[in-house]
Symmetry: C2
Subunit: 192 residues, 2 copies
DNA sequence: AGATTTCGTTCACTTAAGATAAGAAAAGCA
DNA sequence: TGCTTTTCTTATCTTAAGTGAACGAAATCT
């Protein structure tokens, strides 16, 4: 199970046995069931999540409506805002599927940083990469119509369309479920 | 002039005289004129920008149309994707106003990191904060209508509406200039 | 299996954004 | 100052998204 994490980290830095053991010793692997809520609006949580297996999502509830803002699948990580800002969470995080996650809090990170400084370097690099990814996604969202956004998603994360209910995809695309349904039939028509 | 930078950094870490001098010795302050282009699509650039004074923006050109994706004003910093990914830039960066910027490349960062490790720690923290900010903006964009996005901007960055041409604001909001003009008149009507 | 809840599609209607064009206002320049 | 370019607004028309409601299909539960 650790292998997913170590394979991921190997893309960025080489870890020796001690360093790997230090991570394992933190005892951070947890299992969850579909529907489990990891974080709720208002929570003061200090935990970040790295997905080993499964799918989690973040969403707001605005006027009683769920607004999904992100999905995280294998080898992706979610650092909730509240972990960084130390303020109550503005959104929810729950499991779209049964999941195995790494759950780590800031205290654990400090421990690791102090023991192995190269982890802080790693975190800077990961953080910069995440930032680039997030900005790229935002740019693409801003410069595309809902239909293009959907087609973009079909190309880039086709698995999501299988794993996640359509109404969650819809709000992720910034539209209603009805509108997404129309877009889908429009695309099918044009293919025929 | 350095003071803007040091005031900014003081929010995060304490710098001693040596450290400040190391930064100054990099000789990184540059002046630009309104309209100057700092980065073009296709460029392989290694430079990041920190705004001391003025305003810069990033934009794509898609089908001959400018699509503005971000504005950066005093004490904000822009790390172009190409700096991090080492690939050719997908977008442009230019000056909305005359500007004084800090321009630093990766080599300078390495130098500083090696000399003063706490700068790397600083960069991780800044990077995480930028990520939170960017995600918050993205979430807000996704969950708002164009009209709400504009009102949000009026509240949060009213200065931009004065400093930046409307057609650039419009594409920043993901809409056309005509549509923004209608939104503005709609808002004025409802106030009256 | 049967009942129930969740999810996806369709329809009719309303509202707002995109496209195209034209003109007014403002800013920049000679 | 007067001229030119840039920026903003207005109008018409088209297209697509939002809303509310209804229905059927699929998944879930026991």
């Amino acid at each position: 199970m650790e292998q997913v994490l170590f394979d991921y980290l190997a893309q960025y830095i080489a870890l020796n046995a001690d360093e790997k053991q230090a991570i394992i010793d933190l005892n951070i692997f947890k299992q969850y069931k579909k529907g489990d809520i990891l974080l709720s609006e208002g929570d003061h949580s200090d935990e970040g999540y790295f997905v080993i297996k499964g799918c989690i999502r973040s969403y707001f509830i605005i006027d009683g409506e769920e607004k999904t803002t992100a999905f995280y699948t294998e080898a992706e990580s979610l650092e909730p805002h509240c972990k960084i800002t130390k303020k109550p969470s503005a959104y929810f995080v729950s499991c779209v599927e049964d999941a195995i996650l790494i759950v780590a809090n800031s205290g654990m990170e400090e421990t690791i940083f102090a023991q192995f400084p190269k982890f802080e370097s790693l975190c800077r690099i990961l953080s910069e990469e995440l930032l680039v990814k997030n900005q790229t996604d935002f740019d693409s969202f801003k410069t595309s119509s809902p239909e293009l956004r959907y087609m973009h998603l079909m190309e880039n994360r086709p698995d999501l369309l299988q794993r996640v209910p359509q109404y969650q995809i819809a709000s992720y695309l910034g539209i209603t479920a009805q509108s997404l349904s129309r877009i889908r039939s429009r695309i099918l028509e044009n293919k025929a």
